[in-house]
Symmetry: D2
Subunit: 276 residues, 4 copies
């Protein structure tokens, strides 16, 4: 089913979120919660903004829990914004080009979920991708196609709107093909300055999405907590599943909601739109 | 923790045991039972006897559940004897040379378990391996060292005795280093004609081992069961965890027991010995 | 640039052709001739007909020269027809889904060459693939698209005709996009009974293709040659580059030629056609 | 045969040396000079000093020329000291634990060459490694054993002396086993402040080693050369094979020589010693 996380704030060493917490992303790669059923061992990825405007990418087709390169980078990098992802494939091959984050220029994209009936819809969805973007599609996942459809529908100028038009297009294509509830998603998106996220599904069951509360609020709740004291002032994390069970640290984001995470994060509705 | 299985009997296509049952080896790679906790996604291996006297080997450092080559071979091979293994590493790297089965001439060896304190003991255990066998050690696992110690202590002439002397040596080395309960194991061993297995641990908790009942007994219990009717007459499987929950199909092997599986399988005690 | 070979005849162990000759396929993976310039180390593949009607496949994203699984299979398999391939990528990623042979039901396909301007043409070529075949496209190579276009244009009923119509379509697409000489190819194709090959390029430089002479002719030339005596009576090999420099063993196939290899192989012209 | 390079100086982006020159390390992975014969496609590695005292490591078992992660890191990292290596194996498996650089605390080590007769000598050499260092040996190469022998013989306090005593020990062990010329090596070594190198072989043929001339000398020779103007003031590179054919840029280091590269590099003899 995948698990992902995004960070925005003062530069930190990713290990702090990826390895150290009780339910770290590495722990989530072994089994994801809350029912602790399946592993997310079909690939690992990290995208981060550091030296250059264009984010750097690391992809591995190995499970995250055993990937030494991932561990090294998590310990060496110091970055103000990154997206990390552990994959559970939904039918497409395990290979580096099917790992998230996907990248287009300054943008990074991760996804947890699927397009139901993707076998039927794949051809039509691919054909709707803008020709100049088509060459950037390297793998065979539904997630990568979703990203390129959102780019086609104006993500660069209007990120949440682009995602909404992508969702609307996927749902229309699904309806035309007799797929009742085609879209299941939480997505993370970054451009180096702002972190975006959205939680939406065509049906009643929606993959989970959480955001950390403000650092001030967390410190007020847990004044003695050593690790929480180290979190920088404006830091925010957004992710599929909480890193710990401490009450009050993680805010569940409702379905059909998008997040725009700047120094003052805000929520807004997420409603699939018809592309113009 | 690993999971493995061995087969002996009329030639079958391994898929029948590796993929088709409810709790197939592939299902066990996703989560192993009975508590369905951890994946066994640190490597995959298959060794089989077919065209040649020396068994053939396939190893992958990818999880079994996604390995297309493993699926292809499981469907293409037709073999009267094979050992398959899905790995959960206990601290040594994920790489093909750390996958089971290990091979020495006509012998194949798989292991589920560990040597506690292997970091401390590794050097001494390696040095006890007979020099001409040393070059056959390609990886860094405790399992591979156990195999080569058993070969050093006469496995080729006396398979169970060689394993018992290996166990005794490991326990002595552990005692000398202050490791209280060094050995946890079920092992599978094959030479192309006979399938061997053993279940033993230094302490009270012992990894599980099961053998299939005779085909006649299974058919009597389940006269209408379609899949069970297809099992060849003298077929036996031995494995870490039952492939299904059908009562009466799988016999649990007690701790401190070895199996010698010919057309008339028998059990015997397994007692660590001091090497002469 | 890739190198491939195909075999048809009495069952042999592939090692005989893949590993043993002076310029074996493994040697060709290290450096391909005749100018011994580049390695073909971007992937390895083997497809073979044995137990089932559908051929089995092995793919590795590692160079052939170091792949232990490939060596094992080459020694264990005994098959009357197989295609093997060592890849030099032309811009698409190194991953198992980009390895040859590609498979569709009973068919296997290998390619040495490229579609020039594939970045520009990829979208249009993909869209010309018959929708029911589209789901079988797993990777991102031009080779895989060529195979699926040939299937779209009737390869199953008329193999050489399907390839000719694919070539014609690619050249038309190229012309429309301003690509002067889009197609460079030798291809190998098998269905379990017949081995097909073709050598064609849009321009004057054409990748090489060779077929072995009849076994009788070879034995007449080299009555004392030990290895050549072991070749079965109707055996034929077709490949990119000769396995040895023995005069008279390898016949160079002219450009714009197709081969149909049955017990009585014949050559015929290969001319790109316009698909109906 | 391997190829490696080391850099010391003002922080640079490794791509400048690894990818951009005419005979970059990537070009050397495709074919190494001067006879342009074999690829170095059995693994890739990079170790660099940046954020922490302990160097970070990246290893891949894929050829460098196609490794996207290596390309990304080469473009993202900015480091004052790094060692990079492209491997041609000499009989041990292709796996990440057999990639260079090897690391021990603040030290990085790369090697081009081999220990002749390593199969015979491996056991004795391993046993001479100090027990507390033994656990740091993760792979099966002669190179990794050489590093740990040098550490055993005092490399941390006296780097060149430790290497000399390792060489003496290897030669003694070889002599005792009847191996005439056991050691072939250039080695690179770093501790975060100083870069060391040595060129030595037991016999008359010695793998090559070069060091860049001072930046002042290079700029005087080539005042108009754009890329050479960008090289920082105290920068030095040491490597197996020159990155370009520009006369006067690369100084060949004689056999039996060690380099100590600080702001004022100096050469000294390298003579195998008997360990105390």
């Amino acid at each position: 089913m995948c698990r992902w996380m995004g960070y925005r704030g003062e530069p930190i060493v990713p290990r702090v979120l990826l390895y150290e917490p009780e339910r770290s992303l590495i722990a989530q790669s072994v089994r994801h919660g809350p029912d602790l059923l399946e592993p997310n061992g079909d690939g690992t990825g990290l995208g981060w903004y550091s030296r250059r405007r264009t984010p750097a990418i690391f992809h591995s087709d190995s499970p995250a829990w055993g990937d030494e390169n991932f561990r090294e980078l998590a310990d060496e990098i110091c970055s103000p914004m990154f997206l990390a992802h552990v994959r559970a494939g939904t039918g497409t091959p395990v290979q580096k080009t099917n790992c998230h984050p996907f990248r287009y220029q300054k943008w990074l994209f991760v996804h947890n979920g699927y397009i139901d009936g993707f076998d039927l819809l794949r051809r039509d969805l691919l054909m709707a991708v803008r020709p100049d973007l088509f060459a950037n599609i390297k793998g065979s996942t539904d997630s990568e196609v979703m990203f390129h459809l959102a780019l086609t529908f104006g993500l660069e100028e209007d990120p949440v709107g682009g995602l909404e038009r992508m969702a609307g297009f996927v749902e229309s294509a699904g309806a035309a093909a007799g797929v009742a509830e085609p879209l299941q998603m939480t997505v993370g998106l970054a451009d180096g300055e702002t972190l975006f996220a959205a939680r939406y599904a065509s049906g009643p069951v929606v993959n989970t999405l959480y955001m950390s509360e403000s650092v001030d609020a967390i410190r007020m709740l847990y004044p003695e907590h050593e690790r929480l004291r180290r979190i920088p002032a404006h830091a925010r994390a957004v992710l599929s599943e909480p890193l710990s069970e401490l009450p009050g640290v993680w805010r569940e984001i409702p379905p059909s909601t998008a997040l725009v995470i700047t120094d003052t994060p805000h929520q807004r509705p997420f409603r699939p739109q018809q592309p113009g």
